[in-house]
């Protein structure tokens, strides 16, 4: 409970004061119950204003503060840190938004905006009056990590963790590690064989004594929470339990399989890019490319098969990103085998981004022809007769129809997410609308999931080329290290809590929790709900489901919320 509250109302330059009478707001609340000090600032977030507030907190012996300024999205952490520097508990600080939710919203009526600002500040004061100091929960962490998926991302991640002294367990569902990369042949940009890359990693891993690899393995059960998960693994017929601090998902992708008759798929001379790569790997005889016993002279490629299907119901809307570079690279490999090949690229956009643009230019120089098609007018494939015939509207010749005969048609197929429903049921990992794993924020927190301690990396998160996959797995490794090396994690204390004497153990709350943080325990011969604070996100979903009001979120207790409502109602009279 705070009894000596400081209230600071911000002008925000003119952002607030142009539409709200800031001085009037300050005067209106200065004598409210519990308010010991009230002041206005031109810019509350400025260093000088923060120093002044710290001095005021110390001199006036304040035990709670309210700052009426911008959205807490912007400066909640700024002011919580300021409170902490002044020796105040940061959870006895309340930010009242009188900018986005008041001055900016009511630019037409200063009087009403001022009245509303007073109400909002009063509610903030009431909440602070009922606040109690909270301390972050400290959870000890286990210095081990579980990596699900033994492709290049998973293996490289394991090595990175091993370097930092973290024991890495890698589980791979297949009998051999290496994922998609092990059988894709030569890969760009360094012209190495995918299987060689995997062998290099395997050799390095064998030298380490802090990496364990389990093949034919899957996760069957997960308990615990960030820093201390207990995972049951089935490796072959053997069941074992691993105690890990974090879980990294590098479950990869699978190549899109065209539907029967999609651009002629099913015809023996219509193959996917993945098959074409295998063909190139197995036909290294200089001067000729042989497929099904026939010498290939003309190859056509159709891009964006299974990608960017905006017009198709249930189509994959996303761009698979890697395929343009991959097919242009494959086309150069084919030229290396037989420089007299005729190659026709039928594309929608060439997205050979970054340095891979060179592959595109090199193909142009070597004589490959490019035809751009619209999503509305896809190329028409005729499989009658001996050769495959493709009709495409050439945009460079004002959409004139061009007939391209070829011996081999390569469908440039993108990536689709692996089917991991069993795993996802266990981990509750969120999946995006394209069925890949979802990160918290694509720019600011790109490898973290909403579940603390579970990270995602590689193509499990969305189409990526090899170097991008490894880059993201390195990111996941460093996020894991920053979590585990310290030995503990601090968790936000604003989580749900059970008022034990009110709980009747009716279990109605159980299904309202999306994170499975609620379990039931026996306490004084009574079954009651119990919240695991390390799993709870403080979303408050359980609170309205409880018929006994036995659940509340710390920092937003019933007493606080009710007092806020009451203080607003008082003003309305």
């Amino acid at each position: 409970m705070s009894g000596r509250i400081g209230v600071f109302v911000c002008y925000c330059g003119g952002n607030i004061s142009d539409y709200v009478d800031v001085e009037k707001v300050k005067d209106a609340v200065a004598n409210d119950e519990g308010v010991a000090y009230a002041k206005t600032n031109m810019f509350t977030c400025s260093d000088s204003a923060q120093t002044e507030m710290i001095n005021a907190i110390k001199e006036k012996n304040l035990d709670g503060i309210v700052i009426a300024s911008c959205s807490p999205k912007l400066h909640l952490k700024t002011f919580q840190n300021m409170a902490q520097r002044a020796g105040l508990n940061p959870y006895q600080y309340t930010q009242v938004n009188i900018r986005e939710q008041c001055s900016w919203a009511h630019t037409h009526n200063k009087e009403a905006a001022t009245a509303k600002a007073i109400d909002l500040v009063r509610a903030g004061i009431a909440k602070t009056r009922n606040s109690v100091p909270l301390t972050p929960l400290r959870v000890n962490t286990v210095n081990q990590a579980l990596i699900v998926g033994g492709g290049i991302s998973g293996l490289r991640c394991a090595l990175a963790l091993s370097d930092m002294g973290i024991f890495a367990h890698v589980i791979e569902k297949e009998s051999k590690i290496g994922g998609n990369l092990k059988d894709i042949g030569v890969v760009f940009p360094d012209n190495k064989n995918g299987s060689e890359l995997i062998e290099e990693l395997e050799k390095e891993i064998k030298k380490r004594n802090n990496i364990n690899i389990y093949t034919n393995a899957k996760l069957i059960k997960k308990q615990g929470s960030v820093g201390n998960f207990e995972c049951d693994i089935m490796s072959g017929d053997e069941k074992l339990t691993l105690n890990v601090g974090s879980i990294i998902l590098t479950t990869g992708f699978k190549p899109y399989t065209p539907k029967p008759n999609e651009f002629g798929y099913g015809h023996p001379n219509v193959i996917t890019l993945v098959d074409f790569k295998k063909l190139l790997a197995n036909n290294v005889k200089k001067g000729e490319l042989v497929f099904n016993g026939q010498k290939i002279r003309e190859i056509a490629y159709i891009y964006c098969v299974g990608s960017r299907e905006n017009n198709k119901e249930n189509g994959n809307k996303y761009c698979s990103r890697y395929c343009c570079s991959a097919v242009n690279y494959a086309s150069l490999l084919a030229f290396d085998i037989d420089k007299n090949l005729k190659q026709y690229h039928i594309y929608r956009d060439i997205r050979t981004y970054g340095k891979y643009e060179e592959y595109y230019e090199e193909n142009l120089r070597r004589g490959a022809l490019y035809f751009k098609y619209d999503e509305e007018t896809p190329p028409d494939i005729s499989l009658k007769g001996e050769r495959i015939k493709i009709i495409v509207k050439d945009r460079l010749l004002a959409k004139e129809d061009i007939l391209i005969p070829c011996d081999l048609l390569v469908l440039v197929n993108g990536m689709v997410a692996n089917e991991n429903s069993e795993l996802n049921d266990i981990l509750k990992t969120p999946i995006g609308k394209d069925k890949f794993y979802n990160e918290i924020h694509p720019k600011l927190r790109p490898v973290e999931t909403v579940i603390d301690g579970i990270f995602i990396a590689g193509a499990s998160q969305g189409p990526k080329n090899i170097s991008e996959s490894v880059a993201s797995s390195m990111a996941a490794a460093s996020k894991t290290a920053s979590l585990l090396i310290k030995g503990y994690v601090d968790i936000e204390p604003t989580v749900a809590h059970v008022i034990e004497e009110k709980c009747t153990g009716c279990k109605l709350c159980e299904n309202s929790c999306p994170y499975e943080a609620i379990s039931f325990v026996n306490r004084n011969d009574k079954v009651i709900a119990s919240i695991n604070p390390a799993i709870c996100k403080g979303c408050g979903g359980c609170v309205p489901d409880c018929p006994e009001d036995a659940l509340e979120v710390l920092g937003y207790t019933h007493a606080q919320i009710n007092s806020m409502i009451n203080s607003m109602l008082l003003e309305a009279k």
């Binding site: 004589g367 009709i391 460079l396 007939l403």
Partner: protein, 100 residues
């Protein structure tokens, strides 16, 4: 409809200097041409690459009216040897079509 004839390009491309396929259709060449071709170089090259002999024959006069001034070539962002390409197309037309 144009049927791609991949054989033609091999006949024209008697020299490694022929690099019409590097053209990426930006149009810079046409903007600077003092003669003002009716058929744009990029379009001509496209027909050559597709093996559309008829369209090339239709443009014979144009092809021979080029001054080979190299104004276009100087400005080409993709280093296409435009005048050399024109010379090689002339060479092909003279030998196999015009009976010179």
């Amino acid at each position: 409809m144009i049927k791609v004839n991949s054989g033609l390009i091999d006949k024209i491309k008697i020299s490694e200097d022929f690099n019409a396929s590097a053209c990426f259709n930006c149009g810079t060449c046409s903007a600077l041409c003092p003669v003002g071709f009716d058929i744009l170089p990029r379009k001509l090259f496209r027909y050559v690459l597709l093996g559309e002999e008829e369209k090339i024959l239709e443009s014979t006069d144009q092809i021979f009216s080029c001054l080979l001034c190299r104004m276009c070539e100087e400005q080409c962002p993709h280093d296409v040897n435009i005048t050399e390409n024109i010379r090689l197309i002339r060479n092909y037309l003279a030998k196999s079509k015009l009976g010179v």
